[in-house]
């Protein structure tokens, strides 16, 4: 992608993938991808090949998040180049296979866009996850999607934090896009959540088709929530949780959390308050899969990013 002032030329997005089942118990993505593997009519667009793909079939079969290790943390340079074949953890083998098919990560041969479909038990609504504030193609796509589904809301989470960023399945692509829709329990398929994800993907593919046909997108401002820090549950000396997300914070993803606001509630009814220096916007509040990752929620701050004008090369 070359950038000149406020405008960028981006190569056409000819190869697009839609990943489902990166976590085997997040049912919207599993269901949509299985549907499209059987009949891809809905995801066809002119001038683009769109491949639906189940990334973690063993976890999908077990209806568990993963078999050996979290696939969505597995795409590190070390893992992708690790020798050992069948002795490697299942998800590391999968990561290498996915990197062969859709990457190699970081190379010119990599897929142009990968959408990775996820659900969360948090009340996050529809959330697009961005890995780089300088990906103007993705920023323009996200702006397009937000406008297309208005007045329904779709927020953008930016995870560019050097320590909290992680090596996702979608990171094999030139333009990785995470799609997280909640709240939905693991192992459960809710109709409204499924349909919301489907609509977002429809608009995303429409954007790609318009872009590939030559449409120019003028500069725009995109509101994002930038990840600041991870907050764990209060724990005792043995690592056991000693408090729960406070009822005032539960389900309040994206709402301001001010210093002094209730944050956790102990089992015997005491309130623990947020002690930060300023207002933050919490998200991933009480996500089931994050108990083992020592995360009760993440804090974010609101930022307006400017997306350069883009057009195809």
């Amino acid at each position: 992608m070359s950038s000149c002032g406020n405008s960028a030329r981006v190569t056409e997005a000819r190869r697009v993938a839609i990943f489902g089942g990166t976590h085997g118990n997040e049912m919207s993505g599993v269901t949509l991808v299985n549907l499209w593997v059987k009949n891809a009519a809905e995801i066809q667009r002119k001038r683009v090949e769109t491949k639906p793909f189940i990334t973690n079939p063993k976890a999908v079969e077990k209806c568990s998040r993963y078999v050996d290790t979290d696939l969505n943390r597995a795409f590190t340079p070390e893992n992708l180049s690790a020798p050992g074949g069948d002795d490697l953890p299942y998800e590391v083998q999968q990561a290498q296979e996915i990197n062969r098919i859709f990457g190699p990560k970081g190379s010119p041969e990599a897929y142009d866009v990968v959408f990775d479909l996820h659900n969360t038990t948090s009340n996050m609504g529809c959330t697009l996850i961005l890995e780089s504030s300088k990906d103007h193609f993705n920023l323009q796509m996200m702006n397009y999607i937000k406008k297309a589904i208005a007045p329904a809301s779709c927020l953008v989470l930016l995870n560019e934090h050097p320590l909290l960023k992680y090596s996702t399945s979608r990171s094999v692509a030139k333009h990785p896009v995470g799609l997280e829709v909640g709240p939905q329990p693991q192992g459960v398929l809710r109709s409204n959540i499924f349909e919301a994800m489907r609509v977002i993907l429809k608009h995303a593919l429409d954007f790609i088709e318009l872009f590939n046909e030559g449409m120019e997108f003028p500069p725009c401002s995109v509101e994002v929530f930038r990840v600041l820090e991870r907050i764990d549950y209060p724990r005792d000396a043995n690592g056991n949780i000693i408090a729960m997300v406070h009822p005032n914070l539960q389900d309040c993803d994206w709402e301001p959390l001010n210093p002094g606001d209730p944050m956790f509630l102990t089992f015997d009814g005491k309130t623990i308050r947020y002690q930060g220096s300023g207002t933050v916007y919490p998200t991933f509040i009480n996500e089931a899969a994050y108990y083992e990752k020592q995360q009760a929620f993440v804090t974010t701050r609101r930022e307006a990013l400017v997306a350069s004008a883009i057009g195809k090369v």
């Binding site: 709240p183 329990p185 693991q186 192992g187 809710r190 499924f194 949780i241 729960m244 089992f267 089931a288």
Partner: protein, 309 residues
């Protein structure tokens, strides 16, 4: 109806983690154990994390569903090297809290569960269990944080398959909606309130209070409904319809939408008017149940009190 007297209910067992990813019970038992609660007044309390391996793995079960292991047949089957983990646990629990049907069994067994369905607080009991029904009546009169309902399983004791059948009297407390693996403060506090009220009732009972009889409404299962499935792959082809989702206990009439297929068609309820429960319970996909259909019944409770020597 004649007044009924019971022996004192002095031994209570509170169980959690029967399904290892239903977090309210896991944390309720852990908290009681941390505070070393073993007696409250006239009631001695045993707390048990019933499926520790499933709790450690944060899964419903390891080999097989523990809460289907307590029929008389399964409890009397010989244990071999190939006996699944949960069947062994069932026998251990039967020895610890039972034996089922004997004089040594705990007086009251309360097993704590969560559901992903929007069911509020449910007291689930077998047949005409007057103790469980009076406790239900008491909880229902005192709890305001969520609706409290009774689910009546019309099964004879020998075929009763769940843990609470091990006690002389028993019931399950089922609270939702809560995702597997998640601990919600509001749901935990409902469970805590129910357990506190249960202990309060037992103390009142043991000290001689008379609990008046009367009529009580309960829901009893009639049949279950599976998801529409693809005949070749057996995969589901529809989701619970948005108009049914989260509407447990709202009466379904013929023609009401129940499923919405992935291609947009609506499947409708057929037959008599019934109340749906366990709508979109995660664990029931593998049991081929999208929801249970129940009818409302009215049970007549006798007044009860403790036997005076």
């Amino acid at each position: 109806m004649e007044h009924v007297s019971f022996s004192p209910l002095s031994r209570l067992a509170i169980c959690g983690g029967t399904h290892g990813n239903e977090m309210s019970g896991v944390y309720m038992v852990r908290e009681l154990q941390k505070q070393k609660v073993d007696r409250k007044g006239s009631v001695s309390i045993t707390t048990v994390l019933t499926n520790p391996r499933a709790v450690d793995a944060c899964r419903r079960y390891v080999d097989t569903d523990l809460n289907r292991c307590f029929t008389d047949d399964l409890l009397s089957a010989p244990i071999t090297d190939s006996t699944p983990y949960e069947l062994r646990r069932a026998c251990e629990l039967n020895a610890q809290l039972g034996p089922k049907g004997s004089r040594e069994a705990v007086d009251l067994l309360c097993d704590i569960h969560n559901t992903t369905a929007n069911m509020g607080i449910c007291v689930i009991f077998y047949s005409s269990n007057w103790i469980a029904l009076h406790i239900y009546k008491y909880l229902q009169s005192k709890i305001t944080s969520a609706p409290v309902r009774a689910i009546h399983l019309d099964t004879p004791s020998s075929e009763a398959y769940s843990l609470e059948s091990v006690g002389k009297h028993g019931f399950a407390i089922e609270v939702g909606p809560q995702p597997n693996g998640v601990l919600r403060a509001d749901i935990f506090n409902m469970v805590k309130e129910a357990v506190d009220l249960l202990i309060e009732w037992l103390q009142k009972f043991n000290s001689g209070s008379v609990f008046e009889g009367g009529k009580v409404e309960a829901f009893t299962p009639v049949r279950s409904v599976d998801y529409p499935r693809d005949p070749t792959t057996n995969g589901i082809t529809a989701a619970i319809h948005p108009e049914l989702q989260d509407n447990d206990y709202t009466l379904l009439h013929a023609g009401d939408p129940v499923f919405k297929s992935f291609s947009g068609e609506t499947v409708e309820h057929e037959g008599e008017d019934l109340y749906p429960i366990f709508v979109n319970e995660c664990a029931y996909y593998e049991k081929k149940i999208a929801f249970h259909l129940t009818k409302k019944i009215t049970l007549t409770l006798p007044s009860i009190s403790v036997k005076k020597d």
